[in-house]
Amino acid sequence: MSTTTANTTPAAAEPVATPKVEGPWRRFISEFAESKLALLGLIVFVIIALVAIFAPWIAPQNPYDLAQLDIMDGRMEPGTVGGAGFTYWLGTDDQGRDMLSGIMYGLRISLLVGVGSAVIACAVGASLGMLAAYAGGRTDTVIMRLVDLQLSFPSILAALMILAFLGKGVMNVVLALVIVEWAYYARTVRGTALVERRREYIEAAQCLALPTRRIIFRHLLPNCMPPLIVVATMQIARAIALEATLSFLGLGVPITEPSLGLLISNGYEYMLSGKYWISFYPGIALLVTIVSINLMGDQLRDVLNPRLKK
């Protein structure tokens, strides 16, 4: 949902302090670490990311290889030893897919979708936002009208239509999320850039007759980064949740390569019959992932929002 819009709006509109001279990184880290929760979020997220990256080497089974699945092992309870000789610690789903492996691979897809769409949307959105702020005039109007149009339309519906149109697939989901999300970045960057643009150091750069591209990327962009990082963090969490919802509604990733959302949605049908593990464990994995990202994002916003500093 469009939470982050609202959350970041105040931050985006605010002027951002130029980094202090003495060790901005160190200060940033120590301020971030002030919140134990955020630190916990960071640690958990790093673990999750490592699991996702190394899933093919540490998962007991390749859950996407049909030859390794057997429906005779379907819906086994956690801790059962299956036909292939290893223990299903978190049980199996209806196709005989080891849930532990499924979750590891599912995390891969969820993170790929989340991070991938955020990075691309950020690149697209930030470029356009910067352009709008710097160029102003008609370019600004056109881009911002596009942003308004995009933001005025509910993301879930837009993604739904785009996916119905494109068909299922991980890359299609990423594309749909990029189309849905770029506007948040554009608006954030434009807001910040408009303020930064009038500052002395930009004027100084302009007086030196530096090329526009250089001013934008070397001077303006770095100073727009703090709010952008906050938006990106939140958008990753949001994209992961949106992908899960889309998969639940029957669009999203293909059924043979389930993401966390699809695993939950498959298991959802077995909830009432007591086979909780099919839906429960992926649900926990999804929840932990999103919470860890949101914990980080929360603290990041506090740290990077200068108005809260005394």
Partner: protein
């Protein structure tokens, strides 16, 4: 002011036109509605007749133009499936969705505001940490999953609330509402809470952030220094100030709540517009899909405009002319 309004209106018309083209082409590309509407027993002749009857034998641009012509006269076409005017179908379902969205907004405000205020005023207290942690959870829980959990616990296990549907409705002003009866309220409770969960977190965070920022403002410091009671400072000076972002967001969110009720309505079989659109996408009922999206766009434009106006009323510093 009026020039501004006029420009906004013109832009809206363009947006709606673009929307209709995209949807028209999109639905055409997804698949063939005849394949899903027609009886499997139908032979080739019947198939051809049905294609003609639905006007799908014409080239796409011709279909679009005739749609546009009718739309200008207020006719958004008839549903392929129900053979009823698409607009009428949607309007029939609208009260149900509005009721759900307003119920959720109401819950979000009465739960979110006090919690957010507390967390903002006492940022260091453990209760505040708990509230904030809870709000992160509220953001992170997928709606559909929470919905099923609610059904599992409150309907199936405890049997306190009905699992699905809308329950009895009362006719007021020609529309059916369910919040006017006890049984109707019981049906409304779970879906509204499900939809509200996310917004509660949102309101908590907005309120807290607003309070924390406002407390540092000079005029608040001044008011305190002047010796005004903390209660007066909080409820008059701080509260009024933080209402601006809350009103904006709640207003903007009403639209996305209506859009997002797609998920809640599917889970709870709530007979609203969201369920209609999902059903219509599944059967490629193009007239309904197009009409629905046009309505949503229209609604968002209206909401945005109203929020802008409310904004200027609450905060005189914001001038519409500045836009």
């Amino acid at each position: 002011m009026s020039v501004y309004l006029l420009r906004r209106l013109l832009q809206s018309v363009l947006v709606m036109l673009a929307m209709s083209v995209i949807v028209f082409v999109g639905v055409f590309a997804i698949g063939d509605p005849v394949e899903i509407l027609i009886s499997p027993d139908a032979d080739q002749m019947e198939r051809e007749r049905a294609i003609k009857a639905l006007g799908l034998d014409l080239p796409l641009w011709q279909q679009y133009l005739s749609f546009l012509g009718n739309a200008l006269r207020g006719d958004l076409g008839r549903s392929f499936v129900f053979n009823e005017p698409a607009l009428q179908l949607i309007l029939q379902r609208m009260p149900a969705t509005l009721e759900l969205a307003l119920g959720a907004t109401f819950l979000a405000l009465i739960i979110g505001l006090p919690l957010g205020l507390y967390a903002g005023l006492k940022p260091k207290s453990p209760v505040s940490s708990a509230i904030m942690a809870g709000s992160i959870l509220g953001f992170s829980l997928p709606t559909f999953w929470v919905g099923l959990m609610l059904i599992m616990v409150f309907a199936v296990q405890l049997g306190w609330l009905p699992s699905t549907g809308r329950g009895p409705t009362v006719e007021v002003l020609g529309l059916h509402w369910s919040f006017l009866t006890w049984d109707g309220l019981r049906h409304l409770a779970m879906p509204a809470l499900n939809l509200a969960l996310f917004k509660i977190s949102l309101v908590i965070r907005l309120t807290r952030a607003g309070v924390r920022e406002t407390m540092l403002m000079d005029y608040v410091k001044f008011a305190r220094a002047k010796g005004l009671s903390p209660a007066r400072v909080t409820y008059v000076h701080v509260f009024k100030n933080i209402m601006i972002p809350v009103v904006t967001v709640v207003g903007l969110e009403l639209g996305s709540t209506i859009a997002f009720s797609v998920v809640t309505e599917s889970v709870f079989a709530w007979p609203g517009m969201g369920k209609l659109i999902i059903d219509s996408i599944n059967v490629l009922d193009r007239p309904v899909i197009v009409a629905y999206l046009m309505m949503i766009v229209l609604m968002f434009i209206t909401i945005n405009l109203l929020v802008d106006l409310a904004y200027s009323a609450l905060d005189p510093r914001v001038r519409l002319e500045n836009k």
